[in-house]
Symmetry: C2
Subunit: 139 residues, 2 copies
């Protein structure tokens, strides 16, 4: 079990973490739903430095995220190599009001994977950005 | 953007969701850290029906998880095919006390990726298990 490759863990700076986040396509929004911790994968984009994605207007997600402090995680983890990176954003989430900003963001967002309409745009401010990378040195 | 393949989303039953979880090797524990939502990837195992993994004794994770209700998510998401599954467990987490149960679980756990000692074993009861799968039908 104790492999020959030594693990090295590094904290990522904000710039590098945001670069990794920008290149990712799927992340997980972490929020509170009826007083319980909750998590949901979404496809997203980084626009103007913030995490942005679509949700259905009548979803619990839309209700739970508006004006709440949430976390957002993306990663690329190699289970075989036991290495990879993870980035976590913590910040205020809000539903973007209809208007120029909504139109700008909506035009840059990927189509949600799940079927059905996703009329709302959620923006998470990247107030706190942390990340970690685990690499392995040859033994 | 509106691809030819139609998306179909299905809720997973507890049995299927636990099977997927058992086959996964990496998941994300979702908890509250100093009143903020937090998330951390860990490698884990399903033992006796519960999610089990190691943490460092002096970590904030160990402190934050003990006797807290948390969520745990694992997924397999294909960003290109825009399909995949996600399973979420919600339940009580606790540090397992030294003893027979600790020894049994510790012997079945994968070695943590991160360097350094990980002396504690965390068990999350799979009280609530939900899951979703998105598949695409050829257009």
């Amino acid at each position: 079990m104790s492999g020959a490759a030594q693990a090295v863990m590094a904290e990522l700076g904000r710039t590098e973490a945001l670069e990794l986040l920008t290149a990712a396509r799927v992340g997980r929004v972490v929020f509170t739903d009826m007083a319980l911790p909750a998590v949901r994968p979404v496809n997203f984009a980084v626009c103007r430095g913030d995490v942005v994605f679509r949700v259905a207007a009548e979803s619990r997600l839309a209700t739970a995220l508006d004006k709440a402090v949430v976390a957002f995680e993306a990663d690329d983890l190699d289970a075989c190599g036991r290495a990879g990176w993870s980035v976590v954003v913590t910040g205020l989430a809000e539903l973007v009001e209809p208007g120029d900003e909504f139109d700008y963001l909506a035009a840059r967002l990927p189509e949600p994977w799940a079927p059905g309409p996703h009329e709302c745009v959620v923006r998470i401010r990247t107030e706190l950005v942390t990340g970690r990378r685990i690499t392995r040195l040859a033994g």
